[in-house]
């Protein structure tokens, strides 16, 4: 993984020193809250419902054991003993004191981490495929290019006060596990005539106005990537609506101007600035690639046998992913134990994961946007040991990609913007279907829950999406079906009137039972079934179940 340069260390130290002074000035009254708020947001510090929240960047979701242990330190020393992994592959601490945050940032700096640009109208943490560098199906490891973008975008002087936040995702797998079409810019890796480059997608996003990203450029070679990105962000920085924050994201700019107009403007700008970049320093890219070199794989013959039945076999079946080395797999450690808070990990669990990574998995850890932890490089012969260790700390839930592997935003349990709770709905759904023992029979299913229209829980691209709203002082949940964050991203269809918190679990059950009833075979997934039969059977199940039963 990327190792800080002297410049990086000095830069972070200076920024931390500045923030320590800014906090002191706020506490002694020299800075007002209005003056201080943008400064704390630049350092990832929010004021939420019950406390401050610190969002720490995990660049493209990559960690090592030392960094994971440092996150555990923070959870134990300055928070309530846990952290919350997010849909942008970051971690949030929900209870730090403002006066402690400078010390937390200094502690992060010792392990080459920070919280810069995890908030504010800047380019946010670049995300990528959580199996990057390990996946059997990827064209190349996208992380060196994600790191290149991180370095370019961090403290970029032109992009610190933009119309709104800006999110970039990078993938190099045809499976697109980074949901690139839901980002301001999505980059999809391609190789043309032996040259690495990216298809550039622009104007995707979720939130109150969900849009599927459009192709801006079919192929940009790597040596022109940064000037092309800079041209794109620059065009939007000038055109983007600063008069209305709800119309400020680039998806609205693309929608209002049209993709052809935006493309022409970007090309003009690109042609203007690319000469200033000079020839892309491909040598530097090679240097970056060296930071992400493949581990020294242990592919020696080993005698081991994986179980064919039982809990461990079920876990291996659901929680491992094909690795480019046949003797290896990538392991998904589920943070979705039935009834627990999706994405939460205790300090003890973090330390156990760190130990497993260090001793069995080449010291690499990833955070997925689906709020799980990944050990990307695991020799198959260690699976049994890893499973047993995970079992000892309740991290062995065999549910990756199943109905209880739910993305849920913090919702009104923590978030100051939320209009309803998300987490308790996720907890209840997981417990409900666990009790019914139907989870594995239902098969692949992505439920995503947002506690407000900002859609941090990605409900628009959930196979079942749930949006929590405040309807006259009562929590109300709208349901969408058929969303998909994959390569052919699809927005879910809204079914109809919402349901109360008490009604929503039975409503989800009716959807699932309708699916089990109409699917052609057990291997027809919910999504495939929905695409085949449409919404009618599900609307009937949701809104006319009692009439149907009466008729029978």
């Amino acid at each position: 993984m990327y190792k800080y340069s002297e410049f990086d260390h000095a830069f972070i130290a200076e920024r931390n020193r500045q923030f320590r002074t800014q906090v002191a000035h706020r506490l002694n009254g020299t800075l007002t809250e209005d003056e201080f708020k943008p400064l704390r947001l630049m350092n990832g510090v929010y004021l939420q419902l019950h406390a401050y929240m610190l969002r720490v960047a995990i660049p493209y979701g990559t960690l090592n054991s030392t960094q994971m242990n440092a996150l555990a330190d923070i959870a134990e020393r300055w928070d309530k003993g846990y952290g919350h992994f997010t849909t942008r592959q970051n971690i949030q601490f929900n209870w730090p004191k403002l006066s402690d945050i400078p010390d937390i940032l200094d502690h992060l700096a010792t392990v080459e981490m920070h919280a810069l640009q995890t908030s504010g109208n800047t380019i946010r943490n670049v995300t990528t495929d959580h199996f990057a560098g390990a996946a059997k199906d990827e064209l190349f490891d996208p992380r060196p290019y994600a790191e290149l973008i991180r370095q370019w975008s961090t403290d970029h002087p032109e992009f610190q006060f933009m119309p709104r936040k800006f999110k970039i995702a990078v993938t190099a797998s045809p499976e697109d596990r980074a949901v690139t079409k839901a980002h301001d810019i999505g980059l999809r890796g391609l190789i043309r005539d032996g040259q690495i480059g990216f298809q550039v997608i622009v104007g995707g996003g979720l939130g109150r106005t969900p849009m599927v990203g459009k192709i801006l450029k079919e192929f940009i070679p790597i040596n022109e990537l940064l000037p092309y990105l800079e041209a794109t962000v620059s065009v939007w920085n000038l055109l983007g609506r600063r008069d209305n924050k709800y119309k400020a994201r680039i998806k609205i700019t693309v929608h209002e101007h049209g993709i052809d107009d935006i493309r022409a403007r970007v090309e003009d700008r690109f042609n203007l600035i690319k000469l200033g970049y000079g020839p892309m320093d491909l040598e530097y890219v090679e240097t970056l690639k060296a930071h992400f070199s493949e581990p020294d794989y242990d592919i020696s013959e080993a005698h081991f046998e994986l179980p064919k039945t039982g809990p461990m076999a079920a876990w291996i079946d659901t929680n491992t992913h094909a690795h480019k080395q046949d003797a290896y797999v990538s392991v998904s450690i589920s943070l979705k134990k039935h009834g627990d808070t999706p994405g939460d990990a205790s300090a003890r669990q973090m330390r156990i994961i760190a130990e497993l990574a260090k001793h069995f998995a080449h010291d690499e850890i990833r955070i997925s946007h689906e709020q799980n932890v990944i050990l990307p490089h695991v020799p198959k012969r260690h699976l049994a040991q890893i499973y047993e260790v995970l079992r000892s700390v309740n991290l062995n839930t065999a549910n990756t990609g199943l109905i209880s592997d739910i993305i849920a935003c913090p919702g009104m349990d923590y978030c100051a913007l939320a209009t309803a709770r998300s987490i308790p709905i996720a907890q209840q759904i997981a417990q409900h279907f666990d009790a019914l023992k139907l989870e594995h029979d239902i098969g692949p299913m992505k439920i995503k829950i947002s506690g407000c229209i900002n859609a941090c829980g990605h409900h628009h691209v959930g196979h079942i999406g749930i949006l929590g709203l405040d309807r006259a002082g009562v929590e109300n949940y709208q349901i969408t079906l058929g969303g998909d964050g994959g390569p052919n991203m699809t927005l879910g269809d809204r079914m109809g009137p919402g349901f109360s918190a008490q009604e929503v679990i039975p409503a989800i059950e009716r959807i699932v039972f309708a699916y089990l009833d109409v699917r052609q075979a057990s291997d027809e997934t919910f999504l495939d079934c929905y695409r085949r039969v449409g919404s009618d059977p599900f609307k009937t199940a949701l809104y006319h179940a009692s009439e149907t039963q009466a008729a029978e």
Binding site: R26, L27, L47, L49, H50, R421, V474
Partner: protein, 108 residues
């Protein structure tokens, strides 16, 4: 400032904010300080008095942040919130017991 202590259901306001250093939810207390417990909060049935108290509280920028008034109901059992958002601010998160609900003074 008068406290509304009517035994019949009755609406009033409390002044609430987050503590500057800890971020904790706090309320203007009956002794005019800030308290983390809503049951110790001063209630305002009179809109003019509430506005005056709100203005005063908003001036305490070195102690609190994000000051506003929240509607409550005065019942025989004490002060009850009228919106679920305020209810969670009183107790802490509902996913499991942590935050204020773990503190000994909860429901005082």
């Amino acid at each position: 400032m008068p406290q509304n202590t009517s035994s019949s259901p009755n609406y009033a306001y409390v002044i609430t904010a987050n503590h500057l250093i800890t971020g904790e939810v706090v309320y203007v207390a009956q002794d005019q300080t800030w308290t983390p417990w809503i049951q110790h909060a001063l209630t305002y049935a009179d809109d003019t008095q509430m506005q005056a108290a709100l203005t005063l509280a908003q001036s305490q920028t070195e102690t609190v942040v994000g000051v506003y008034s929240a509607k409550v109901q005065i019942t025989d059992t004490g002060i009850e919130t009228t919106h679920f958002r305020e209810a969670f601010r009183v107790t802490g998160p509902s996913n499991y017991a942590h935050g204020k609900q773990q503190e000994s003074l909860f429901n005082v």
